[in-house]
Amino acid sequence: MALDRSVEGDHVSCCARCGHPVRRTSANILEWTISLSVTALVLLLVAMSNPFLEFSSAGRARGISLPLAAIEMFRQGFPALALLVFCFVMFVPLVYLLCLLVMALRTKFNLGTSPTIGLGKFVSKLLPWSMAEVFIIGVLVALIKIVALADIILGVSFWAYIMFTVCFLKLSSVIDNHTLWQWAGAIPQNKSSGL
């Protein structure tokens, strides 16, 4: 039993009983998804490979990159936490974006030979564990805690990560589960058959 596909453009369909939005449709959703996920991916890679913050006091300085925030926890003897921070802040968003991009590109250009059910399942379980926006607030609170102690320089990565979060939030508000599964469940048409 499939959904009514006659609803198009920017619409929200709500549950008749509890009023919760059930389905959200957006115009040009494929194009939105592809452009936003490419932008977010580039920004995330920039954020992961550039200096994040620098902290200096009394002539001594320490700069960190984003992955180092997780690695330092590992060095201090908290491997589980290091893994959590790395996953929630970098790895989960990265994998989510890559999977989404693959699914959207496949649907848009009619590539591949089989439906992407595995990816679809993975992606729908992954989203609640992406915590980019929570991390930003965490960083801001941490900065306020130490801003009086020393000089702080915000690196390229800091701004890139903020921009990445904005793109990511926009993306997760555009995508809805039904659209995702329409992509995942679609059987690519064989182009040589003339369809």
């Binding site: 039993m1 009023g19 913050l53 006091s57 320490r62 926890m73 399942k121 915590m131 609170v141």
Partner: protein
């Protein structure tokens, strides 16, 4: 185990359908696994309340060391200070940063407690006549689900401080054991919310 008459009128279960929790597709109840994504179908998550309660109690137990143990220790030119979650809030209040104190207090104390209380209440409300309407309970559940990850703020604050403030001999910060317990609380409550089957709220529609 499931009797059609137990479900409220108009629900998919009453009409002979079953919804896939992974891909939201409706199938006939005679089907064993979802035709689209292949996941096993079940009308309601099996033992949903028991699983949810087990996870909430885990979270409650972890919440005790999370508050009693130090969340981090600051070494400032040889002087070591251990600080707990509430200690951090008090420090901010002393410095006059009321807004930050409020953010930390909300994220680390109020939200986890409210979340655990709300999940317990939801479990209770599905088995007893309710004071809140189903609409309000549904809203409560969605709020719990939405707010779940925001308690991780404190863990990220510590992670950033530990990574950044490492000027040996001058100022260093080490993480404390409470941080592990606290992230355990956050993860356990998030899993508890995922295990709770929201449809149970509406299964007693007629009884109200």
């Amino acid at each position: 185990m499931f009797n059609k008459e137990n479900f409220s009128a108009g629900s998919a279960a009453r009409e002979g359908y079953i919804r896939c929790l992974t891909c939201d597709m409706l199938s006939l109840q005679s089907v064993e696994s979802c035709p689209r994504c292949g996941d096993r179908l079940s009308l309601r998550i099996e033992n949903s309340i028991q699983k949810t309660l087990a996870l909430v109690f885990t979270a409650i137990l972890l919440y005790i060391p999370a508050n009693l143990l130090p969340i981090m220790s600051t070494n400032l030119i040889g002087t070591v200070t251990n600080s707990t979650i509430l200690g951090g809030v008090v420090t901010f209040l002393d410095h006059g940063s009321f807004f930050i104190a409020f953010v930390i207090f909300m994220a680390s104390v109020v939200i986890p407690l409210a979340k655990m209380g709300a999940i317990l209440w939801l479990c209770y409300a599905t088995t007893r006549p309710q004071r809140l309407t189903q609409h309000e309970l549904g809203y409560l559940y969605r709020s719990v689900e939405f707010i779940g990850k925001w308690s991780m703020v404190d863990v990220f604050v510590v992670a950033i401080l530990v990574a950044l403030v490492q000027l040996t001999g001058l100022m260093t910060i080490q993480p404390g054991a409470a941080i592990t317990a606290f992230s355990g609380v956050v993860i356990a409550t998030m899993l508890a919310a995922h295990q709770f089957d929201i449809r149970l709220i509406w299964d007693h529609l007629e009884s109200v």
